[in-house]
C-alpha cells in the first residue's frame, strides 16, 4: 500500500494509479513493468521502496495517522481529477508504478498476485458502494466506470460541504470530520444525558446543557443558577453531598483499583488544591422530572392544566465526572461578595445519563387482588423466595412457607403429576407448564393454580441452582369439588409410574410429612447425576417419631415451623438445612429467656384479614411456649 507522503502525489492520484494498473493488468496479466526507474521525484521512490514486503490491504498501518480534513480531500481530488488527463502525470504514474512492480516482483511473486487481486477487489467494492451512496450515480443502468464515480463523489462532497454551513469555517480549531454541532447532537442522542457543572460549596448549578430538557423536561434556563438539591430526591441528597466533599472530610472514602481489587489509600496529606482535575466521581442519584412537558411560561400558562398540582416523578441518573477547580470570577458572575474572596471554585463536572432501565415504576396498586405470584424453590422443592403477593392467594405469609417443601401444599392427587414435572424441569432448559393443581391454603381450603416452572442453572458450575415458578390462580377456594376432582384425576392418569416409593403414603396427617420427602428424593436424584457418590438417603427413613406429637398442628391451618424443621433436619442435601436445624433446636426454648429472642419479626405483607397477622404472632408464640402443654388449639378463635 502506498504511503503517500508528499504534496506531489496525492491520494487520489494513487487511486488513479491503481485504476491505470488495473487496466494494464486486464490486458496483459501481470505486467512486467514499464520503463526503468527514472523517477522524477525521489520522494516517490522513497515512498515506494519503504514499502518493502507488501502488506495486505486489510492490514492497518501501524503508525497513527493524523486526522484527515475532508476539505483537503475535496480540493486535491478536484485538481487531480482535472489533471488526470495530463499526460505528464500519467507518465509519472506509470514510471513509478513500474518501479513498484519491480520491487514487488523481486520479493514475492505468487502471493503478490493474490494480494493484488484482493486489493483490487476491495477497491472495486468500495467504489461500488460509493456509487450506491451517491444520488447522481444511481439511476444509471449500466455500471459506471470508476473515474466517473469518483468525479461524482467529489461533486457530491462539495455539495454536502456547502450544505453544512460554516462547518469548516473555523480554522483555529482542529479539523474534524464532523462539525461540532452534529457531533454533540449525536452524542446526546446516544447517551441520553446532559452536562452538568455544579459548585461544590453551595450546590449551585453553574452550567447545564441544553439536552436536559429532553431528559428532565425542565428547560435549561429554569435550572441554571438553581440549587441542585432542589431537584434531587430527598433521600439522595446526602449521597450527592458526599460526592462534593473533599477527601479529607470523608475518612471512609476509599479508592478501589477495580482491575486488581485492591484498595488504594488516598494520599495522606490531601489539601483542597489536590482536587484538581482528575479526581473522579461516579454515582447514581434520582432527579425530579416534570411530567408537564413544554414551556413553563409563568403566569400566563394554560389555565386548566396548570391548576393541577404538578406531580414530580424521579428518574435515576448515572453521573460520572470529575472535580475541577476554576477561578471563581469566570464561572459564576452572579456570585455573592463572599465568593470573591475565594480564589478558586471547586466544581463537579459530570455527565448525567439516564439510567438505561425504565425509571422507577410506582408501586403496584396493592388493592388489586393479585392473581399471579412468583416463587422460587431450591432443587428439592423447598421455597426460598415467595412473592409478597402470594399471601392474598394462599393465605400464608412468606415467612411461613420459606423452607417448607412445596409438596406439603399440593393436594394428594396432584403429587404424582407435580413430581413428574419436578423431575422434568430439573433436566430441561425450557419452561415447563404444569397442569392445574390444587394448593392448600392456610385455611385448609384449596386454590387451583397453574404454574410455569423454569430451572435456573448457574453459568459457572452448570448445576441447577433453583427453580423459578410463576403461578397463576385458576380458581379460588370456593370452587366446586367436581372441578377439582376432574382436574386431579386427569393428572393421576399420566406419569403413574413416576411416583417414588414412599412408605406409608396415606391420607391424613402422615401425608404432610412424607410428601415433603418427595422433593428431597427428586433433588437427590439430580445430585447423583452431578456427583459420583450417592448422597445420603433421607425422607422415608427419617425419624418421624419426634414429629408425631406435632402432627396435630399440621391438620390445622397453621403449619408451625417446627414440623418443617423436623422433617427437613434429617435431609442433608439442602443448603438451608442449617437454618432448619437452628429452628428445631431453638424450639424448646425456655420462656423466660426472652432477651435471646431475635425480634426480627416475620413481616406481614398484603393480607386480606387480620387473622393472618394474628396467626403469625401465634406461630411465634408456639415456638416459645412449651408445646407439650399446648392442649387443643382447635378451640382458638380470633375475634379480630
Amino acid at each position: 500500500m502506498h504511503h503517500t507522503t508528499t504534496a506531489g502525489v496525492s491520494t487520489c492520484s494513487a487511486a488513479l494509479r491503481s485504476l491505470h494498473r488495473e487496466r494494464r493488468f486486464q490486458s496483459a496479466g501481470m505486467s512486467t513493468g514499464g520503463s526503468d526507474s527514472t523517477v522524477d521525484k525521489p520522494a516517490d521512490r522513497a515512498a515506494e521502496e519503504e514499502e518493502g514486503p507488501i502488506q495486505a490491504e486489510s492490514t492497518m498501518p501501524s503508525v497513527e495517522l493524523p486526522r484527515k480534513r475532508k476539505g483537503e480531500v475535496e480540493e486535491r481530488s478536484d485538481t487531480r481529477v482535472q489533471q488526470s488527463l495530463n499526460f505528464n502525470l500519467e507518465d509519472d504514474l506509470s514510471r513509478s508504478e513500474g518501479e513498484d512492480q519491480q520491487v514487488k516482483m523481486k520479493c514475492f511473486r505468487e502471493p503478490h498476485r493474490q494480494i493484488e487481486k484482493r486489493r483490487r477487489d476491495k477497491m472495486n467494492n468500495l467504489i461500488d458502494e460509493l456509487s450506491a451512496m451517491i444520488p447522481a450515480c444511481q439511476p444509471r443502468a449500466r455500471k459506471l466506470d470508476k473515474l466517473t464515480v469518483l468525479r461524482k463523489a467529489v461533486q457530491h462532497l462539495k455539495a454536502l460541504k456547502a450544505g453544512a454551513s460554516g462547518a469548516f469555517a473555523d480554522a483555529k480549531h482542529k479539523p474534524s470530520i464532523l462539525p461540532h454541532d452534529d457531533l454533540r447532537h449525536l452524542l446526546l442522542r446516544a447517551a441520553d444525558g446532559f452536562l452538568l457543572v455544579v459548585r461544590c460549596d453551595r450546590a449551585k448549578i453553574l452550567f447545564i446543557s441544553e439536552s436536559v430538557s429532553k431528559i428532565l423536561n425542565f428547560s435549561k434556563l429554569e435550572l441554571t443558577g438553581q440549587s441542585l438539591f432542589d431537584f434531587i430526591h430527598p433521600k439522595d441528597i446526602h449521597k450527592v453531598k458526599e460526592q462534593f466533599s473533599s477527601s479529607e472530610m470523608l475518612p471512609q472514602q476509599r479508592l478501589v483499583d477495580a482491575s486488581t481489587g485492591l484498595q488504594v489509600q488516598a494520599e495522606a496529606p490531601v489539601r483542597p488544591s489536590h482536587l484538581a482535575t482528575g479526581a473522579r466521581r461516579s454515582f447514581f442519584c434520582r432527579m425530579k422530572h416534570s411530567r408537564v412537558t413544554g414551556k413553563h411560561e409563568g403566569k400566563h400558562s394554560l389555565p386548566a392544566a396548570s391548576k393541577k398540582k404538578e406531580t414530580y416523578r424521579y428518574c435515576t441518573l448515572h453521573c460520572t465526572g470529575y472535580m475541577r477547580t476554576w477561578p471563581s470570577g469566570q464561572l459564576d458572575p452572579e456570585g455573592d461578595a463572599a465568593d470573591k474572596e475565594t480564589p478558586s471554585l471547586n466544581c463537579l463536572v459530570t455527565v448525567c445519563r439516564l439510567h438505561p432501565n425504565v425509571s422507577h415504576q410506582p408501586p403496584k396498586d396493592v388493592n388489586v387482588k393479585a392473581t399471579e405470584f412468583v416463587t422460587r424453590c431450591a432443587i428439592d422443592g423447598k421455597f426460598t423466595f415467595v412473592d409478597q403477593q402470594a399471601t392474598t392467594v394462599i393465605g400464608y405469609l412468606p415467612q411461613e412457607v420459606l423452607g417448607t417443601s412445596c409438596y406439603e401444599y399440593f393436594h394428594q392427587d396432584d403429587l404424582q403429576h407435580m413430581a413428574g414435572k419436578h423431575r422434568q424441569v430439573l433436566r430441561s432448559k425450557e419452561k415447563i407448564e404444569t397442569q392445574c393443581y390444587k394448593f392448600r391454603t392456610k385455611h385448609g381450603s384449596y386454590v387451583t393454580l397453574q404454574s410455569q416452572w423454569f430451572s435456573f442453572t448457574n453459568p459457572w458450575t452448570k448445576e441447577v441452582e433453583f427453580i423459578v415458578s410463576s403461578n397463576r390462580v385458576i380458581s379460588g377456594p370456593g370452587h366446586t369439588k367436581d372441578e377439582s376432582e376432574a382436574g386431579s384425576s386427569k393428572s393421576t392418569q399420566d406419569e403413574a409410574q413416576q411416583l417414588p416409593d414412599i412408605p406409608g403414603l396415606s391420607t391424613g396427617v402422615g401425608t404432610m410429612i412424607y410428601a415433603g420427602s418427595i422433593g428431597t428424593q427428586i433433588a437427590n436424584e439430580l445430585s447423583d447425576t452431578y456427583r459420583a457418590n450417592s448422597s445420603p438417603s433421607s425422607g422415608a427413613s427419617s425419624p418421624f417419631g419426634s414429629v408425631q406429637e406435632k402432627c396435630l398442628l399440621t391438620s390445622r391451618s397453621t403449619p408451625s415451623r417446627e414440623e418443617e424443621a423436623g422433617s427437613s433436619s434429617t435431609s442433608q442435601s439442602q443448603a438451608d438445612s442449617s437454618k432448619e436445624a437452628a429452628e428445631s433446636s431453638g424450639a424448646p426454648e425456655s420462656r423466660g429467656d426472652l432477651s435471646q429472642l431475635d425480634l426480627d419479626v416475620p413481616g406481614l405483607s398484603s393480607f386480606s384479614s387480620d387473622e393472618a397477622a394474628m396467626a403469625v404472632i401465634m406461630s411465634l408464640l408456639e415456638t416459645d411456649v412449651n408445646m407439650s402443654q399446648s392442649g387443643d388449639f382447635e378451640d382458638l378463635h380470633w375475634p379480630f
Binding site: H2, T5, T11, E57, T59, S62, E64, L65, R67, K68, R69, K70, E72, V73, L126, M133, L157, S176, I177, D181, A190, A191, L195, E210, K220, K239, E242, L255, V256, D257, S259, A279, S282, F283, H355, N357, P363, F385, V386, D387, P398, Q399, P459, W460, F466, K579, A582, E583, G586, R591, G592, L594, L597, L599, V601, G603, L604, F607, L620, H637
Partner: protein
C-alpha cells in the same frame, strides 16, 4: 495544514462514512448552538468525562463514525477505523450478540430502541497504554450503551448510536452508598465489606457462602444471569438495575459493576496477578433507591398499635386463649407468673414488629441463628 497519510481504500472508506453520516444527520433538524460553552469544548469535555468514545454503527456493522478520542482507547485512530466493519475488530464469540443489538426493532416504542451490551474489542494499546503494533492486540472490554436512530426514509441509513466505555474504570470512588464484595466464580460470596450491614442489614458473615441469586428478587434472575455470563466470558460486566433483598424485608434497587480478577490478598505491595490463583469476582454495588415498602405495612402497623393496647388488659392464662378476646375473664385475680413474662414478651414482640417491619423472603424470620 496536515497532509494525510492515507491509502486509497481509506479515502473511499472515509468518503462513504462521511456521506452516510450526512444523510443520517439530515433527517433530524440541527439545533443551533445555544450553550454558553464553546461547542468544541463541550464536546471534548463530554467525551472526556464520559471516559469513552462515540461510535455510530450501521445495521451491517460498519463503523460509520467514531469520535476522535477512540485512539486513546483502542490505539487506532479515527481515520484508520472509520468505514471498517466492527466484526473485524471484535471477538468472534461476541458477534452474535452484536448482531442482535444491531437489528432494528419494529415499532416505535422508546424502550426497544435502547441498547446496552458488553463486547470485547481489539486494542492496539499495550498494558502501559502505549500504542503498539496491531499484530499484538489485546482484548479490551467495552460497555456500549446507546440507541437506535431510525431513518424512516431508508432503513439502510438507520444506525445505532453508541457510547463505548472501556471497563473497568480504573478507580471507583466509594461512597457510603456502595459496598464491595468478592465472590467465587459461581457467585457465592467469599467476602463482603462492612458497609453492607448499614445498607442492607446483613452482617458480612451471614452472606459468606451464599449465592447472590438467593439475595435477589426472583424476577431479576435473568438480569443477574446475563451479568454472570458476561463475567464468565468477558471478565467484566455492568449489571443494570436489579433488586436486592434487605434483611428485614423488602428490597432496594441496586446496580453492580463487576470484574473477574485473580484472587488477591490485600497487601501493601502491588501484587502481580498470579495465574495459578483461583479467579474471583469483584463487585462494587451501588444502592440506587431506598427500601421499598408496601403501603399495607402502614395499615398493619396501625393494627399492631391497636393490639398493644389490648394486651395491657390481658389477664388470663396464656395457654388457654391467646386471642386477646375482650370477653377475657377479668375475674381471675391471681396472675400466673408466666403471664407477666408473657406479656412482656408480647409487648416487645409487637413493638419490634412496628419498628422494623417487612417480610423478607430470604431470611428466616424469628427462628434465626440469633435464637439459640
Amino acid at each position: 495544514s496536515v497532509r494525510a497519510h492515507l491509502d486509497k481504500p481509506s479515502v473511499i472508506r472515509l468518503t462513504l462514512s462521511y456521506i452516510r453520516l450526512q444523510t443520517l444527520l439530515k433527517v433530524h433538524e440541527k439545533r443551533n448552538s445555544l450553550s454558553g460553552l464553546d461547542p468544541l469544548d463541550e464536546n471534548s469535555m463530554y467525551l472526556k468525562i464520559l471516559e469513552g468514545f462515540l461510535m455510530v454503527l450501521s445495521t451491517l456493522g460498519d463503523m460509520i463514525f467514531l469520535s476522535d478520542n477512540v485512539s486513546k482507547y483502542m490505539g487506532l485512530s479515527q481515520t484508520e477505523l472509520m468505514g471498517h466493519n466492527i466484526f473485524e475488530y471484535t471477538h468472534p464469540c461476541d458477534h452474535e450478540e452484536i448482531r442482535h443489538n444491531l437489528r432494528l426493532t419494529a415499532g416505535w416504542c422508546v424502550l426497544n430502541q435502547k441498547r446496552d451490551f458488553v463486547v470485547r474489542i481489539k486494542s492496539a494499546l499495550t498494558h502501559r497504554g502505549r500504542v503498539g503494533n496491531l499484530k499484538s492486540t489485546t482484548w479490551k472490554v467495552l460497555h456500549c450503551q446507546g440507541r437506535v436512530k431510525l431513518c424512516a426514509a431508508s432503513s439502510s441509513v438507520s444506525c445505532v448510536l453508541l457510547t463505548c466505555r472501556p471497563l473497568p474504570l480504573s478507580h471507583t470512588l466509594l461512597s457510603t452508598h456502595t459496598f464491595t464484595s468478592q465472590h467465587s466464580m459461581d457467585m457465592r460470596f467469599t467476602y463482603c465489606d462492612q458497609r453492607v450491614t448499614s445498607l442492607l442489614g446483613y452482617r458480612p458473615e451471614e452472606l459468606l457462602g451464599r449465592s447472590i441469586y438467593d439475595l435477589c428478587h426472583t424476577l431479576d434472575t435473568s438480569c443477574l444471569n446475563k451479568n454472570h455470563l458476561n463475567l464468565c466470558l468477558k471478565s467484566q460486566s455492568v449489571s443494570g438495575r436489579y433488586r436486592m433483598l434487605v434483611r428485614s424485608g423488602g428490597y432496594v434497587w441496586v446496580e453492580s459493576h463487576s470484574a473477574v480478577i485473580p484472587g488477591v490478598q490485600p497487601s501493601r505491595s502491588r501484587p502481580r496477578p498470579n495465574p495459578s490463583q483461583p479467579l474471583c469476582i469483584l463487585c462494587v454495588t451501588y444502592i440506587l433507591s431506598q427500601k421499598q415498602q408496601l403501603p399495607d405495612v402502614k395499615i398493619f402497623k396501625a393494627f399492631i398499635l391497636k393490639l398493644l393496647f389490648s394486651i395491657l388488659k390481658f389477664q388470663t392464662n396464656p395457654m388457654c386463649n391467646i386471642a386477646l378476646d375482650e370477653k377475657v375473664i377479668y375475674g381471675q385475680k391471681k396472675q400466673l407468673p408466666d403471664v407477666k413474662i408473657f406479656k412482656a414478651f408480647i409487648l416487645k414482640l409487637l413493638l419490634f414488629s412496628i419498628l422494623k417491619f417487612q417480610s423478607n423472603p430470604m431470611c428466616n424470620s424469628a427462628l434465626d441463628e440469633n435464637v439459640k
